[in-house]
């Protein structure tokens, strides 16, 4: 349990990487790195697809990423209708990429593929935890 706290809407409660949420509570976004072979994973995982080991260490996502692509959506699946429009984005942090939403502080007309972004952990009004991507000079 614990993982149901992650996301605007959660579909999964039980996972061995529920520690991800504990770190969100601390305001930090983490990947996992395999202690056996050194592969790093985002999304975080309990098991390594490379060496089949299950010893993982948490590792913080860097502060500087680059926007790979994005879209502003006007339609949403059940449970997200009240959120539209919002912007989904893929951001490259070097060793890992991260998928999520762009923060509303990023003006629509300044969004550009290749722009620099950083992750920001956000607590939603209903208490759910998530993260979004904001400008590098964003002050929390």
């Amino acid at each position: 349990m614990g993982f149901e706290k992650f996301g605007h809407k959660s579909y999964t409660a039980l996972t061995k990487v529920a520690g991800f949420v504990d770190r969100l509570v601390q305001g930090e976004l983490f990947a996992t790195r395999c202690s056996g072979c050194g592969r790093i994973y985002f999304p975080p995982r309990a098991d390594c697809a490379g060496c089949l080991g299950s010893a993982m260490q948490w590792e913080k996502i860097p502060e500087k990423g680059k926007l790979v692509s994005f879209t502003r959506v006007n339609y949403a699946p059940a449970g997200f209708e009240a959120d539209v429009p919002y912007t989904l984005a893929l951001v490259d942090f070097g060793e890992v990429k991260v998928f999520g939403r762009l923060g509303s502080t990023v003006a629509e007309d300044e969004i550009k593929v290749g722009m620099e972004l950083k992750p920001l952990v956000v607590t939603l009004p209903d208490g759910q935890l998530t993260y979004e991507f904001v400008l590098g000079n964003h002050k929390a």
Binding site: S10, T12, V73, A78, L90, V113
Partner: protein
């Protein structure tokens, strides 16, 4: 040239907004057409593969229901699922069952009755097609993912919303000729460009139409195919691949590696190259997907798909006519039925029976069928 397994019968219902009957009755229409087309009886069919995305169906384990209704007991039957690519995975598995010697004749049956569920139920399922742990919690849907591929292609190659509109204009022209298509109106570039945005840069006409429908293919081994059929269409090449469900695992978004890999395998097995293809059906669930397919299948260099499109080379009379049955965009996309419908179109083309959509003298055709947003890809090369 591989001539071990052939397609000897094809059938398809009209794709419609809402089929006025039960799933079994809809499937029967496609099946009866395919069986008559093949000139066999249901008794001769050794196994049936039922291709469907099960969350859209109320019946659990629809293979049992379908086999019973079609008179395909006591032969083996099972469900195959690769979301939108289920139908062509059915072809791959049917080919294997036949080539392995387990069956002489196999039916590949695809269906979806999207109207079976309420709109609220559909909306609920749509969110669960992405990774439910890591992407679905952000509120994701298919158009958003393809929109991100489009945006990446725009950024790298200068592709524009007008290019996407050209794909839809072409689809609508052929869709208007196809009496099995759900969307039979021609649309103009201006209509496409002025339509509402679904997920930027994709607008309403960039998205395929949901539909109810069923398709059926009858495959046979070489001995039976030659006995039964005057115009068997041979499976020359098969390729299949998968990619990470999470976008984070993709190397780039400007194309689908999964299609490049599947195509390489299919060309290799057939001993053919992109230049040998006379007509193709590609998975245009969104306009951008057709452009990506031109490049991923080798019809154009990376970034040059727009040149091919703008020059009209993917229309009838062009170098490589693509989706001249209206594609998913206009023909409609009843998920489990789509792959079978694509294959049917190519079979009719290679037999010279495609009517107003015929590509003159087509001898070799290709089908590309994608599941999810590039999670699965199947490429099939067919020849007379």
């Amino acid at each position: 040239m591989n001539k071990d397994v052939a397609i000897i019968g094809v059938g398809q219902t009209a794709f419609v907004r809402s089929y006025p009957g039960a799933v079994r009755e809809m499937v029967f229409e496609a099946f009866a057409e395919a069986v008559r087309d093949a000139g066999i009886t249901p008794r001769e069919i050794g196994a049936s593969l039922v291709c469907s995305a099960p969350e859209y169906d109320k019946q659990r384990s629809p293979a049992g229901m379908v086999a019973e209704y079609l008179g395909l007991n006591p032969q083996p039957t099972f469900v195959l699922e690769n979301i939108c690519a289920s139908g062509t995975t059915g072809v791959r598995v049917a080919y294997s069952l036949i080539k392995a010697g387990l069956h002489d004749i196999v039916a590949v049956i695809g269906f979806q009755k999207m109207s079976e569920l309420s709109s609220a139920e559909s909306q609920e399922r749509m969110g669960r097609g992405a990774d439910i742990m890591w992407e679905a919690p952000f509120g994701t849907m298919m158009p958003a993912y393809y929109a991100m591929h489009a945006r990446a292609h725009f950024a790298k190659y200068g592709t524009t919303e007008e290019d996407l509109a050209l794909v839809r204009v072409k689809a609508s022209r052929y869709g208007a000729l196809n009496d099995r298509a759900v969307f039979r109106k021609e649309v103009t570039k201006e209509q496409c460009l002025s339509a509402g945005v679904v997920a930027s840069p994709l607008k309403v006409y960039d998205c395929c139409a949901n539909a109810d429908g069923a398709s059926c293919l009858i495959l046979a081994n070489a001995v039976r195919a030659k006995e039964i059929s005057e115009k068997p269409v041979w499976i020359l090449g098969l390729g299949a691949a998968s990619a990470s469900m999470n976008l984070t695992g993709r190397d780039s978004l400007e194309g689908l590696e999964v299609t490049r890999l599947a195509a390489r395998e299919a060309y290799q097995m057939a001993g053919l190259s992109p230049r040998d293809i006379d007509v193709a059906e590609v998975h245009d669930c969104f306009t951008i997907a057709e452009l990506l397919a031109y490049e991923d299948l080798g019809f154009a260099e990376p970034g040059k798909g727009t040149d091919l499109l703008r020059a009209g080379e993917t229309q009838i009379g062009g170098r490589i006519p693509v989706n001249v049955d209206g594609g998913l965009l206009s023909k409609g996309h009843p998920i489990g039925a789509t792959g079978g419908s694509q294959v049917r179109t190519i079979v009719l083309q290679l037999r010279g029976e495609a009517g107003p959509m015929q590509v003159p003298g087509a001898e070799v055709g290709l089908v590309q069928n994608i599941g999810g947003v590039g999670i699965y890809s199947n490429v099939i090369i067919l020849g007379r």
